[in-house]
């Protein structure tokens, strides 16, 4: 399990307007590229000082590659990171204000506390 790396994907995509669009249009390709090229970059370090050990589990990779925010919730991805990025991806497709956010809630309605652990 690599919740940290899932969070790192959500975080680094969310803060980059070009990556937000790329992930919206081509989720699987973006996840594959990101895991190969970006997953091991330490954000405050030069590229030569990268890590060598970070990779997604199969379930994490598949949840990200299919825009499966319910799956990400269940894997313990950070709720704020997932929500913020997915609003950027899909809110535009809904006419009513907050309609996407409400659908998001409804799709998680089978959950009651305690929710999956988001600790990293």
């Amino acid at each position: 399990m690599s919740k940290y790396l899932v969070n790192k994907f959500l975080y680094t995509v969310d803060r980059d307007p070009e990556l937000v669009e790329r992930y919206r249009e081509d989720p699987r390709g973006t996840v594959t590229w990101w895991e190969t090229e970006r997953a091991n970059l330490i954000l405050s370090c030069p590229g030569g000082e990268r890590s060598t050990w970070l990779e997604f589990t199969g379930a994490e990779r598949e949840a990200l590659a299919t825009h499966d925010y319910v799956g990400l919730f269940e894997l313990g991805a950070h709720n704020f990171l997932t929500l913020t990025l997915f609003i950027a991806l899909f809110e535009r497709d809904y006419e009513e204000p907050l309609a996407f956010q409400r659908e998001y809630a409804a799709r998680l309605s089978h959950w009651t506390v305690p929710y999956p652990d988001i600790s990293t």
Binding site: I42, F80, L81, T84, A88, A105, S109, V113, Y115
Partner: protein, 288 residues
């Protein structure tokens, strides 16, 4: 010594800026009441005539990240740029530029560490909406120097609630001991019950109105004993999965003082989350 001109605790709602500036069909039906409440709340800071603002908030995974996460951090820089691309994108927040107050930042860091808080610091900090939202509501001119203080209410493992209270007490004590003639307002923002990225988000009210009712009572009456008895890191998941932001309210209760009633209390039941506003005047009635 410096004067604590006001202690102010508030929710920070990133939708306020857009709601309050929208016109015509885009203006939500609750906007006028919200703006009236904010303008009344703003007056409680204005009348305190502050020279400097100590601003307690929390970075929402903007500059602070899981590879290097401080629990409590004080900005010590001459200036701060503020608000981020994803806050423009989602909330329509404007980019802002704020003056810092390095002398007070340095004093709080040195004295805070000597008082038992191993505070992190940042000499280049981009501020986010936890601090710009209360500036937009309370001091939209953004013309006063700030000392930003960030707390981790976001990424487990987090400090215990009592530690937030203790830090609030320490900030109050240290500001009062700062050798300066300045008038300092201590302003902190947090949340009542809040759900983000979970099944209870964006409902017609906050996810736990009963928690909100109790929380407003604790804060307005300064009832730290009840808050500390009922609130734990584990219990805060129950009212909503982003309710750990309530610990910043507890920090502000520490700054206001145990048993000290707020001089001003207001709230507004909105969709998604309840808004709540509190002001204390440590100088007493003369300042009001």
């Amino acid at each position: 010594m410096a004067t604590v001109a006001a202690v102010i605790a508030s929710t920070h709602h990133p939708f306020y800026y857009r709601a309050s500036t929208a016109a015509g069909a885009d203006r939500p039906p609750f906007a006028d009441e919200w703006v009236a409440k904010i303008e009344a709340f703003r007056e409680t800071l204005t009348r305190a005539r502050p020279d400097v603002l100590v601003m307690v908030g929390s970075d929402h995974f903007h500059q602070l990240w899981l590879d290097n996460m401080p629990q409590f951090l004080i900005g010590k820089a001459p200036c701060y740029d503020a608000n981020w691309y994803n806050e423009e994108r989602e909330f329509g927040l404007p980019r802002m530029f704020l003056q810092g107050h390095e002398e007070l930042s340095g004093y709080l860091l040195r004295e805070g560490m000597d008082a038992g808080f191993d505070l992190a610091f940042s000499n280049e900090l981009r501020i986010d909406h936890s601090i710009t939202c209360p500036l937009i509501t309370l001091r939209p001119e953004a013309d006063l120097p700030i000392v930003p203080i960030y707390t981790n209410i976001f990424a487990p493992p987090m400090p215990q609630p009592r530690r937030f209270v203790e830090l609030g007490r320490a900030i109050r004590r240290l500001v009062e001991s700062w050798p300066s003639g300045q008038r300092v307002a201590i302003i902190g923002t947090g949340h009542l019950s809040l759900e983000l990225g979970g099944p209870r988000q964006f409902g017609p009210q906050g996810p736990d109105p009963e928690f909100d009712r109790k929380a407003v009572e604790w804060i307005s009456s300064g009832d730290l004993d009840s808050a500390l008895a009922e609130v734990s890191l584990d219990s805060l998941w129950q009212p909503g999965n982003a309710t750990h932001g309530f610990m910043d309210f507890m920090l502000m209760m520490g700054a206001a003082g145990a048993g000290v009633k707020a001089d001003y209390t207001d709230s507004l039941d909105l969709f998604h989350t309840m808004e709540a506003y509190f002001t204390w005047y440590p100088e007493g009635a003369a300042a009001r």
